[in-house]
Each structure stands twice: as structure tokens, then as C-alpha cells.
Symmetry: C2
Subunit: 472 residues, 2 copies
């Protein structure tokens, strides 16, 4: 592609993205295509000869776009958000244009040093004490795996890295912890049965006393406790494990404390929500995702560690072909995680933090939380609905409850969810809380306003009414 052609299609795509961000509301938020439908429209073999960009872009519109579920839609209330912003998109474009790969300091000093700086900005924003060092990971799943591995190595004096697994090492997390903890203990070789599920209280938060008991039992049984994963903002209900008492237990028994604040960590930039990270100074590591709720397009996961040497000792490799003359005095982020190669993700984060400023980001987070509270309050007015968990941040868990038996209620609410999503106007997902099929509504898209939340309320109530009439 010649320069002028790149410029032409570049402008065209910028225009398209500009329009898309403004008009995304016109699409059904959740794609309505059937499994296999997109695949059937694509050639089964690669084109032998160059094709015109016009044709490719036309196919994008005709074939690909109908199969997109629109995460940036203001009616996105599903899962957790993965919000983005114009500034972030521009940063990603520039990063792709540079095509820089920051595996070691020397392969782009700016990539490493800007990452150090913006990660320290984030540290200050969420109120982690000085001394914690940050690194960008792709996802919280990866960050949590890194924490589990560092904990594993610290607990065994770096012996598993060297000689392989020996003995039984135990990991503790509440039964509401994210599935990435299950995945991580499997990958790191602990084994799923050595992930001890600690009971939760009525607000779905880990009970510290139960944690302590579990650790003591394990010690008696001859197991070696290695790591506790505490969650700030669980996926199912937004519950907050109390970090301070958990941290004290970790300290007492010499265990690694990893804090998974993937979703709710962002809220801690608000003084009124900082309580959620109270006790975070006990953490050996902590992760939160600017790509979830801080306007930075996926992927960008912020991982902090108290003692970077444990992390780098866990991951370091020293092949001759990667050695540089400055290794002794710089950070080589290849040793801070699993991957060797690294995109220049700090750039988009820098664009976001500067173009919004801390106050600008706070304003948006506050709006989301306010809208979730509004949804909660309005829904409570309708006695047919029931709130199933406290609303600390921007997630509301609820269900329709007309008093029928639990099993029938689960069926009813599943139908309700399908009916809601079939409108194409909003997209919600579900979980189970104490066995109850639970609808989750999370406010978090950059452009979600009060009218979208009111529309959601309206759709939910109308569909519920229709269902109740039909089902009798």
C-alpha cells in the first residue's frame, strides 16, 4: 500500500470510527447472528493475489460488522465493561504505527520508562503506598497467574522453578473469587483441589476467621500454605474481601497476599470508595484493569508488586541473544511476566490519563456509580423485584421474585434475561448467588447516560410484566 493510499484509508477509518463511537447505539448491542453464519460468508482459502482495500472494507461492513457485539454501546450492561475512549484509540494507533516491541529496555527505552512512569501515576491514584512497582500485563488472568507463580517460588525458595514441584502447596480464595484463580492454580501446578474455597458472609465477602482456620488445618495436615487471593469487587456481585484482617493473617503465617481488584480497583481513585482498598498495604501484589473501567482500550491490566525482585527472579531468563550492555541498570520488562515480546501499551494509557486528567476520570466513574445507584433505587420501588447483593460500585444484582418456588424462579429469571437481551437495546448477563439465578447490570460505558439506565429499567419491567402474564 502506497503512502497516499494509506492516508486515504486511514482518514476513512478515522471517520468511520468517529461515526461509530457516536452512532453505536443504532446497532443491536448483542450480535444476532447464528453460529457459523459469519464463517459461511468467508472464503475457505486465502486470496492468492492482492485485493483492493475498498473491497476489504466493504466486506468488513457487510460480513464482519453484523457479527460484532458492541462493547462500546451505551446499552452495554453485561459482564464488566471494557470501555475505551477516543484518546485511547489514538494512542493505540500511534503504538501500532511505531511498531515498537519493548521486551527489553534497549529495544525502546521510552516504552519501558513511560510504563514505569504511568504505572506509578496509577499507583498514586489508587493510593497504594510508595515502593510498589508496576508493570502492564495483558489481562488480570495473566497478572493473577504471575502472582501465584511468584508466591509459589517465594514459598519454596525458588525451588520449583529449579527442580519441579514437590509437596502440597495451598492457595486460598473466597468461593466467590474469579475463575482465573482456578485457571491459575491449574497452570502453576498447584492443582485445583489445593485451591481452598473459603466461605463468605451474607455480603459475599471472605470471612477472615474461616481463612485462618483453613490455614491452621492445612498446617496440621502437613500442607504448605503459599498464597491468599483476596478480591475487591467480585465478578458475581462486586463483593469486597476485607483486606486488613486478611493481610494480618497473611503476615502472621508468612503467606503471599494477591489482591484481585480487576474491576473495582478503579473506584478506589474516589476518596469515598477508597475504603475498598483499605489494607492494600499488606498486599504482595495487586491487579486492576484500566481496560475495564478506565477508558483505556483492551488490553491494559495494571499489576503491582511490593518486591519486584521476587517477580523477576521467578521469570528471569538470560540467553546470550537477549543480553544488553545496560542490563544491570535498567528494567527489562521481559522478566516481569510470561511473555517475552511486549506491545507499547503505556502510550495509550498516557494519552488517557493526560487527556482526561485524574479529575476527569473521577467524574466519569462517579457518574457510573451514581447511575447504578439510581437503577437500584428505582428497581426497588417495584415490589416484584429483589436486590440480591449490596451495591458498592456500579454493579446491581437482582431478580424477579413473585414468591414461586426457587427452581421455578430460576427458570423465570432465565427467561426474563433472554427477553431483555432479545430487544437488542441493552445487554445484561447473569450469575448465580447462593444458587439463585441472578441478573447483573453493570454501568460502565463511557457514553452511558441516565436515559440509557431509564430505558433499561423500562425494558426490564415491561418484559417482566409480559412474562408474568404469560406464565401465570
Amino acid at each position: 500500500m502506497e503512502k497516499e493510499e494509506f492516508r486515504k484509508y486511514g482518514y476513512e477509518l478515522i471517520d468511520w470510527v468517529a461515526d461509530y463511537l457516536e452512532e453505536v447505539e443504532k446497532y443491536p448491542v448483542k450480535s444476532t447472528v447464528q453460529p457459523g453464519e459469519i464463517k459461511a460468508k468467508l472464503p475457505s482459502s486465502p486470496p492468492p493475489h492482492p485485493e483492493k482495500m475498498d473491497m476489504i472494507l466493504e466486506d468488513f461492513q457487510k460480513i464482519i460488522l453484523p457479527g460484532i457485539t458492541h462493547w462500546q454501546h451505551p446499552g452495554w450492561f453485561a459482564y464488566f465493561p471494557s470501555n475505551s475512549s477516543p484518546a485511547s484509540i489514538l494512542g493505540e494507533l500511534l503504538s501500532a504505527g511505531l511498531g515498537t516491541q519493548g521486551m527489553v529496555w534497549e529495544t525502546s527505552p521510552s516504552a519501558t520508562e513511560l510504563e514505569e512512569v504511568v504505572m506509578d501515576w496509577l499507583r498514586q491514584m489508587i493510593g497504594l503506598p510508595e515502593g510498589y512497582a508496576g508493570v502492564i500485563q495483558d489481562t488480570a488472568s495473566t497478572a493473577t497467574l504471575c502472582a501465584l507463580l511468584a508466591a509459589r517460588e517465594k514459598a519454596t525458595g525458588f525451588k520449583i522453578n529449579e527442580a519441579g514441584f514437590e509437596g502440597v502447596l495451598r492457595v486460598y480464595a473466597s468461593r466467590e473469587a474469579h475463575s482465573s484463580v482456578d485457571k491459575g492454580v491449574k497452570i502453576a501446578g498447584f492443582g485445583k483441589k489445593n485451591l481452598v474455597a473459603i466461605p463468605v458472609d451474607e455480603e459475599f465477602a471472605l470471612i477472615p476467621g474461616q481463612l485462618e482456620k483453613a490455614i491452621e488445618n492445612d498446617l496440621k495436615a502437613g500442607f504448605r500454605p503459599a498464597c491468599v487471593v483476596a478480591t475487591v469487587g467480585t465478578t458475581s456481585s462486586g463483593a469486597v474481601d476485607p483486606l486488613k484482617p486478611i493481610g494480618e493473617i497473611c503476615q502472621k503465617f508468612g503467606l503471599w497476599l494477591h489482591v484481585d481488584a480487576a474491576y473495582a480497583g478503579t473506584a478506589a481513585i474516589l476518596p469515598e470508595k477508597h475504603w475498598a482498598l483499605e489494607g492494600a498495604e499488606y498486599a504482595d501484589s495487586l491487579v486492576f484493569n484500566p481496560h475495564k473501567w478506565m477508558l483505556t482500550n483492551f488490553d491494559c491490566s495494571a499489576f503491582f508488586v511490593k518486591d519486584p525482585q521476587v517477580l523477576t527472579r521467578t521469570f528471569e531468563i538470560h540467553p546470550e541473544y537477549l543480553k544488553t550492555g545496560v542490563d544491570a541498570v535498567v528494567k527489562n520488562f521481559r522478566d516481569w511476566g510470561i511473555q517475552l515480546g511486549r506491545r507499547f501499551r503505556a502510550l495509550k494509557l498516557w494519552f488517557v490519563l493526560r487527556s482526561y486528567g485524574v479529575e476527569g476520570i473521577k467524574k466519569i466513574i462517579r457518574r457510573h456509580i451514581h447511575l447504578a445507584e439510581l437503577f437500584h433505587d428505582e428497581l426497588l420501588q417495584d415490589k416484584r423485584f429483589e436486590i440480591l447483593a449490596p451495591v458498592y460500585f456500579s454493579l446491581v444484582c437482582f431478580r424477579l421474585n413473585d414468591g414461586r418456588p426457587e427452581e421455578e424462579l430460576n427458570h423465570l429469571n432465565k427467561q426474563l434475561l433472554e427477553a431483555i437481551n432479545s430487544t437488542g437495546k441493552i445487554f445484561l448477563t447473569h450469575t448465580t448467588l447462593n444458587g439463585k439465578f441472578t441478573l447483573r447490570l453493570v454501568v460502565g460505558q463511557r457514553t452511558t447516560e441516565e436515559r440509557h439506565v431509564r430505558e433499561a429499567l423500562n425494558i426490564i419491567k415491561t418484559r417482566a410484566e409480559e412474562l408474568l402474564k404469560k406464565n401465570i
Copy 2:
């Protein structure tokens, strides 16, 4: 940022990238900043209030750009390339604009199905048999780790995932294998000492007979052999492990064969280089990187498996909040690797494959290989230089050798490398081969032409001459 502002800065950045790709040659290929220099120019705290994009872009030019090492520079001969293309950049822009996250089919059917399709195109291009299923990973490090984990679970009937490590499992790779294999065996809990380094022949390729002997010895010792990693295109010298005899051994002993073709896999799209993947049909998994040598900007690593069920059984998680109504009939790529969240990387790959066409890509790969051969032939004319490994692809390993003792030669060549890179015109890196400090020159940037290779030859010879005069 308002729509018109996004459009304005979007155009500006498209222009900047267009110019950059054309003029990147004017920058020193390797950044000349000192450690800490970039950091010192950046504020230590985040800005409280929004800043103008003009200011941010000005700082990008003034502060960030001098700290960039220019991977897309035509004088980039270091490491392996991580080349890119205008089409790929446009694809990345569109993907960032959509802000789609394809963790499960339902969160964007197009993301999953386009990935299936383009990965099958790649499968055909490199000549892997039908039946192999592909998934995009971020890096070959991650792909190799996934392979090691699947091998681990297959060898133990998925018991380590469940109950944790027990017994000694062994992994085999040549001593020239990539450091990601070392890293992977540590992460997966095998332990580094259970990675058996198999000797190589005089061309740095794994010796199958030695592999067989090592496996037999381990069996006698009561160890459980689990996985062999064969490399097609080693990092140090581009060596090719012979897949067919290795595959036969793996079959005989029931071991997982993972093929790391991260760099050289791309070359297999050329009929004249397909020999390198001969025997790949024995592979249980194979990885190669379109983000290295196939014009697709980092990250995009193509990972293929023969039996996807082993992979998904290794990684699957089933929390309620991720269940969808179509799970039984679609691919949910979250279960094909470590991360839950997934960027829409298939889009840029689709842009690249269509806008170049298979023939267009072949032409570029052939040019790179031809230029490496040219460099090799010309350098050989100069009797002061020595070629240290066969040139199969686009990597040439060489050193200056005036007959002085080995240790002094190492020192001399280290000085030579520094002198070459200090010109800012070209960037080479090094390795050691049989203890010899070796300079590596890899041709692989999209815009590298004969004149750049001739300039490299000229710089290398001139600097060598200067050094030899000085050192006597």
C-alpha cells in the same frame, strides 16, 4: 474528546504514521538515550486536569520519540524482525475503534469466526494438514507454554490440573531451543532441571538419536517423558531440527511434539523452503509468528493444535457468569489459552492476508531471503570474516576472524558490534555459537532493500578495518 477533535487528531496521527513509515530511515535505528533520561523528563504525578491533545502530541515528539528504537527501520537487522505494514496498522486501528473483546463467541461472533477462518488460511499457507485447528496467541512464549501445559495434562490424564504435580515429568529440546522453553518448564512446574538439553549437530540441529537415548535413559530412571520441543529456525542461528525423525520418536514413545517455528514458519509458505516443516504432520502443536515476519504488527502469534480437545480440557473453566446459551456449538477461545479477555487480532491479520495476497507475501519473504544470501555471499568475499552457521532463511551468523586466540576474538567481535551499532544506521545483535561471540544479521523489515544490505556490508567492513588497525 469531541467527535471533531477525534477526527482532527486522527487525521494528524494518520499523517504522522504515513510520514514515519516513509522517513523512519532518518532516525538512528537504535535509541541513543541513557537509562533514566526519558523518565527524568516526565512528571512524577498524574495531571489533575485534562490536558490538550496538542500538548500531549508535542511531548510525544519531544520526549518519547528520542527514546524509541525503530523496529520498522530498514536498517533493522537485530534479534528477529517484528515487521508491520500499512494494512495491519489500519486493521489495528479498526479493532481499537470497535473495542470488542472476544473472550467467548457471543461477545463478538465475528471475532471468533474470523479468527477460525484466517487461522485456517495460515494453516493452508504453511502446508499443515487439514484437521489442525488454529488460535491466535499473543506471543510464541505463551503458545509454547500452552503446549507444555497440554502435554503435561495429556501425559498425566489431566491429573496435575486436578490434584497438583506428582512425580518427575521430563521435557526435551535441543540446547539451541529458545529461552521461552526454559521459562515455560518453570511456569508449568516441571522444573528447569527436567528440561533435558539434547546435543546438536554441527549445523546446530537436534540429533534425533541423542533424543531417543535421552528418553530411554529417563524411562529407565523412572521419569515420565512428556514433551519434545523441536525448533524450526533457532534464535541463535536459524537451525532446523529434523521434524520427521523427531516425530517418529515422539510417536514411538507417546510424547507430545511441539514445533516452535516462531521465526522460520513464515518461510514455509515458499515451496522452496517447505522442507523446513517436513514432518510437521507429527506435531501435536506448532507455533509461528505473523508478527515477526508476515507484516502483521505485534502481537499476533499463530498457534495450531492437532487435537483441540486436549487444549481446551487443559484450560477450560465454567463459571456461571461466563456461560452462554450456545456453548455446546461454538468455539469459546477463552478455553484455548491462558487469558480470558481477547483482543480482535484476526482483523489485522485478515487485512494483511487480503491486501497482500499469498503471492504478495511470498514475494517479500523471497526478497528478504535473497538479501540475506547476498549479504552472506558478499561477506564471504572478505577473507577476514567467517560465517558461523548455514543460512537457510534470512539470518546470517558471522564474525571477524584474523586468527587471534578465541577469547580475544570474542572481545574483538564485541567491540565490532558496538562500533557497528554506534553508527545509528543499522542495528545488529549477537549470540554465542559454540562459545564464539557471534554477530547476527537478520533481514526482515518490509522496506529493507538491497541498498540497505549493501550499506550494512560497508559499515561492517569499514568498522572492522578501523578496529583491526587500532587493535593491531
